[in-house]
Amino acid sequence: MNASSGTYTATEMMTIAAARALTNRDVCFVGIGLPSAACNLARMTHAPDLALLYESGTLETRPRVLPLSIGDGELCETALTTVSVPEMFQYWLQGERITVGFLSGAQVDRFGNLNSTVIGDYAAPKVRLPGSGGATEIATGCQRIYLVMRHHPRTFVERLSFQTSLGHGPTGRERRALGVRTAGPVLLVTDLCVMTPYAETNEFEVVALHPGVTREQVIAATGWPVQFAERVDETPAPTSVELEALRDLHARTAAAHGAVVTE
């Protein structure tokens, strides 16, 4: 997935597009991996006051390098303070103090529901995935959910093997029926495009293609008959400021961890 488009990679475009969605006033519950890169990039560029919380209990952390795990020492050392994990889930997440939850998963469907549990049958799985972690309650406890995932037909699926975390539900209408007051997934950024839910159906549709990406590429990489919005924009290409900040962050991270870091 290093298909370079000019002077930046598709992954860089994805991370930068995701970072742009965050504002200086957001309080963000950060997942490890792609979300972590996007959130810290936002903090290091246009949103210096963005408050980042990791489920390890670090409140308003400002890591200088990306953590390998959700509980790296760097997160605690640069935090406003560190609370216990029960407090994090009780007062901060369930207390609905978080404006944005950033999630990813092994599978997503057209309504933004996520699977991070198993591929195949639960009792006799083909692939046993890590499981929910914080995702199940992040998906319902944060005011809004942003999704970041690489586009692939095995990932963007017609039907999830297992619904770990609620998006808009199997028919797109389950949140209200379940009494969930939060908005759920309102943004899905991939390495090909930006998607948002169509208001009437809550089905994710393409609203912007990254520079150089064609509709056909998106259709081929999506496991359901993907819809395009009436107007499809082109994602603005990364600025040199964004690219430099992201590359510096990755370089510092690689130096600090002394090893390859998967993203």
Partner: protein, 274 residues
């Protein structure tokens, strides 16, 4: 009141075949030394409890210690799969592994409920998730005031909880610093508690503090085990060995390389203390 004992004595006295055993530490302060001692003493049929199984449970499961696993996220953080966990679930090697799977929020609430002497935890959770379909220990109640449906899970009550901390004082009180995770709750929820520590100090904290300290009378055994959290880390003592976490992926992917590694690094090691 806590006693100062060797790791070998602590494990042989307080960990028994068939026990429900929690080893907590959220990325930070994972009690590897104690887990290795359980493997060396070949204590089996355990119900292992941990929010994030991590490498330590991958090793214990691969070594055949576990009959059942209660967990909420079973991956190698930042790296990928736990191959020994997957081998046990997908192919029943080295033995079948029953799993009871939760979300982090549920596990955190369940430990807190255990610490608080409650039979169950009640929280706003599992809405729209398939997990309640596969875990009969997830139920729902109606709020008696609003009618809202709320999730309930049984309190976690380990027979023994094992955690690693930075410091104990000479009276056997223990202080946790940095990312404190769910350790306090896991200790208070358990019938017995073993704490491995980096060192013994004269004084745990300043006067009038709100530091995270467990009194001696909440702990059974304290074991001095410097480096006892490696390859995870101890805030103020040593860093996480990220390279080992990455290297573990290749070691654990194959049953033979796993067993060779265990023979060389666990079974041969640690006699009597860490």
């Amino acid at each position: 009141m806590s006693e100062f004992v060797t790791l070998s004595e602590a494990v042989s006295r307080w960990v028994h075949a068939g026990d429900r055993v929690a080893l907590e530490g959220f990325t930070h302060l994972i009690p590897f030394a104690a887990g290795h001692e359980i493997i060396r003493q070949r204590i089996g049929d355990l119900t292992l409890i941990r929010m994030t199984p991590d490498l330590i449970f991958d090793q214990m499961i691969g070594a055949g210690c576990a009959r059942k696993l209660i967990f909420s996220w079973g991956g190698n953080p930042g790296v990928g799969s736990l191959h020994r966990l997957r081998d046990a679930v997908e192919r029943q090697w080295p033995r079948p592994l029953e799993i009871e799977e939760h979300s982090h929020s549920a596990m955190a609430h369940a430990y807190a409920a255990g610490a608080a002497g409650m039979p169950a935890a009640f929280f706003r959770g599992y809405r729209g998730s398939d997990l309640p379909k596969v875990n009969p220990n997830i139920k729902f109640i109606a709020c008696p005031f609003t009618g809202e449906s709320l999730a309930a899970v049984p309190a976690l009550r380990p027979d023994v909880t094992i955690v690693h901390a930075q410091k104990a004082d000479r009276r056997g009180n223990v202080r946790f610093e940095g990312i404190i995770g769910v350790q306090k709750e896991a200790v208070l929820a358990a019938r017995h508690a073993i704490v491995t520590v980096e060192e013994i100090v004269d004084r745990l904290s300043d006067e009038g503090s709100n530091d995270v300290i467990l009194p001696s009378w909440t702990i059974d055994a304290i074991v001095v085990a410097p480096g006892g959290a490696r390859p995870s880390y101890a805030h103020g003592y040593y860093q996480r060995d990220n390279a080992f976490y990455v290297a573990w992926d290749a070691i654990a992917r194959d049953r033979d390389t796993f067993q060779q590694w265990m023979d060389a690094h666990v079974h041969s090691g640690g006699k009597g203390s860490a």
